[in-house]
């Protein structure tokens, strides 16, 4: 499925862009992330647990950042292998633009789910992907705008 949404973030464009590249930001923003290791250059490894309605799945995944146009856009590509449950993969193309109230972050997400999870119905899967993306960028906005600073380093 594909979907698109945007958020206005009360922070300058450069700050927003740098924020995305920080590993601790991924840690804080990926919904259900239990464990994130790695770096923006080499990619991140994560264990993610997600629940939508009757489905609760645990994925071992990798997140890479591609097509970086500093300050302007990048692609976040996440891929999770769920053992017998199947796989989940999402790519978010993030574009930043100046906005009177800070920065407009637009994201276009293309999500794919496969294997047993896909078999159980697109109804749930669409909800799954939508929820993941919305939560990610909502948390991202909160983290960047919030008084609470991003934790400098979590133990791996």
């Amino acid at each position: 499925m594909e979907m698109q949404d945007s958020r206005i973030i009360a922070a300058p464009r450069e700050t927003v862009f740098e924020g995305i590249l920080k590993p601790e930001m991924l840690r804080a923003c990926i919904p259900g992330a239990e464990d994130v290791t790695g770096s923006a250059e080499d990619g991140f490894e994560a264990v993610v647990v997600q629940k939508v309605g009757p489905v609760k799945a645990r994925f071992k995944g990798a997140v890479t950042i591609e097509d970086v146009l500093p300050g302007t856009s990048l692609r976040l590509v996440g891929e999770g292998k769920g053992g017998a449950a199947g796989f989940a993969r999402g790519a978010a193309t993030v574009t930043l633009a100046d906005h009177p109230e800070g920065t407009e972050l637009t994201y276009a997400v293309d999500a794919k789910v496969g294997g047993k999870i896909a078999q159980l119905g697109s109804r749930i899967i669409d909800g799954f992907a939508r929820k993941m993306a919305d939560q990610f960028f909502e948390r991202f906005k909160t983290e960047l705008e919030g008084a609470r600073p991003v934790a400098p380093s979590l133990e791996d």
Partner: protein, 789 residues
Amino acid sequence: MTELANSGIGAPLPREGARRLAEGRGRYVDDITLPGLLHIAFVRAPFAHGRLLGIETDDALEVPGVVAVIDGRRLAEICAPFDTNPPGVPGHASAPQPPLVVDESCFQGEAVAAVVAESRAAAEDGAELVFLDWDELPAVCSIEDAQAEDAAPVHTRFSDNLSLRHRFGAEDVSEAFHGAAHVVEADFSFGRQTGVTLEPRGIVAHWDPRTEELEVWQSHQVPWQMREVYARQLGLSPQSVRVTAPDVGGAFGLKLHAYADELAAVAVSRLLGRPVKYIVDRLESFTADAHAREARASCRMAVDAEGHILGIDAVVDAGFGAYAMHPRGSFGEAMQAAQMIGAPYRVGAFRAEVRGWRQNKAPSGAYRGVGQPIACAITEEMIDLASRAADIDPAEMRRINYRRTLDEGTRATQAGLVVEELSLDACLDKLLEAMDYTALRSEQAALRAKGIYRGIGLASFVELTGVGAGLYGPLGLTVAANEACRLTLQPDGSLTCATSVTDQGQGTLSAIAQLIAGEFGIAPEGVRMVAGDTGRTPYGGGAWASRGMALGGEAAKRACARLRDGLLELAAGILQCEPEALRFEQGEIIGPKGASGLDLAELAALCHYRPYDSPTGQVPPMTVEESFVPAALPYIASNGVHAVHLEVDPELGTVDLLGYWVVDDCGTVVNPLLVDEQLRGGIVQGIGAALYEECLYSEDGQFTNGTLADYVVPMAGEMPDIFVEHVSTPTRATGLGARGVGEAGTVGGLGAVRTALGDALVPTGARVSQQPFTPGRVLAAIMAAEDAE
């Protein structure tokens, strides 16, 4: 008929073994257990197309109860991949299919690794912890995508996706279309279906290293075929393999094939020297059972002003899936879908081209009717379109064109079909009377004026039943198509019939027992049937293509004749008369002077214990074996006509079935109790195809409705009562005269719903080409027609 009824044929007797099933005493594969039994759960490919880079099994092996995790490379050492390219099908190409993926996987759900454990639950625990490392490859799923010039290959060993190309009939039929009074044309799309047997596939395999014998219990239609398959793939002597099919919870063609996962289970047992069980669960059954029916077609029909069919020109493109199902291939459906177009009718010129396309989807295979439902649906809708163009009543249009028999001097139709002894006129007469066709037509007209859209649909069909060696031999398939009967007179005077025919609930065994009982004038309880076990039955086919009674019944009849002739000769010697003067009645020999005092038990005791009492000193054999395959015909054609009455709700798009009638000719009806509900069951599957059932894949080859809640099969609430009537034209091909009936319901059901829907939609100007006719599709067609106005 009186004589026949007395002899057991034609009596609506309850089925042998029925009480056992009604009391929950069936014995299905999952009910079988062995000491030391291990269980398998498979890790299956999550992608439609991928390259397997590695398998991580460490975590899985830590799970309590997990004994082994076995991958495709390990199995490849002891087990050959299926190679399904019958030499007799020119231009056919399919990739070899290993029991487990070795490096390239070609459909979502293909088995990759076997987790073997003390329980199924532990095996599944382990399977969750096997992580697969993949490169995803481009997937090609729809028939259109597979056809595209630049389509990625479904399997990297091929450069394109064309698996079969064939033409039936003439190269050029354009002549017939020039100057025809009417030419009609339509496109068709048939949704991919699967059989959904209520009992999923399952297997217990035991390679015993002590005896070096492989014993297999499998929910299957053709144990003899499977004996050959397992022996061949594992490099064993067929004589060291025994395959038993216990009670089978529905098969419908789905359990006619050899499956990679089941072969893997057998190979795992061979590897570990332990008995293993693998029961396909419902989620797996959707992605890993054979699929069927996916096809697109276009057809043109030319008729003259009086409605005579001048020509048919059709193209059928079939979706084969990733591999050809072993060993019979996936081409049968496509071939019959094309070849059977127009079969019930005299057709001036005929051309049907068929192409089969590989796709990154589950392999397609045999499912009840094999292509014939598609051919029937195309034909019948074309007839309706032509009848509207020519302004001829659809029933009359059919009658005008019915094929009574082959034209003089020809051996086959232009499509190469040998169809004889048809009774379509008689079937139609009976049908129209039963449904009160004229009254329904007037009611339809009256209701149309009120905006109520009812449709009346007819579908005539010719079905190829009892398919024999004439089909498989020339294709180069090592499939026995004869059916055999080994009949034994036991010392106590009871009879044992070991038959190669198998029974998945059709009641064939019961009908054969009834037939045998009739031959000796005894009660069917006096005949013990043995079937479904290569260790105990004579070599032969099994169950497919509506063959049980037509072929197995004939073999039994012939065995009875031989046994009886021997016994009568013996009795004649004792009674000092001619054997021709004797006959069996209630197990007793009746002679010119009435009851002789000799009965089966007495003769059996004499032969077994006191052969010296025989006047000649000789006794006839107590066991005779007969095998039958129709010599003259590759198959026995049966025929019939279906009718549907339905109402379409043009606002909701829903279809409500109001009535269903069928008149079928399956020749001699041995047991109407079995035959009628067999027809109804087939019809309900046809209705399922027409209205509900479809395997929905996403563009990237993910199966998206793979649960029984999402893949919709017919339930009791929506099904109509179905009126069944018969015309009986015994076939001359056998002494028994029975034709097959197992698929007749499915072959005509789809077409009849299609024509009824088309008829109902006439006032709206809409036509639904894509099946199943879901509310969404019906509504889309109606809305498109409204927009066009």
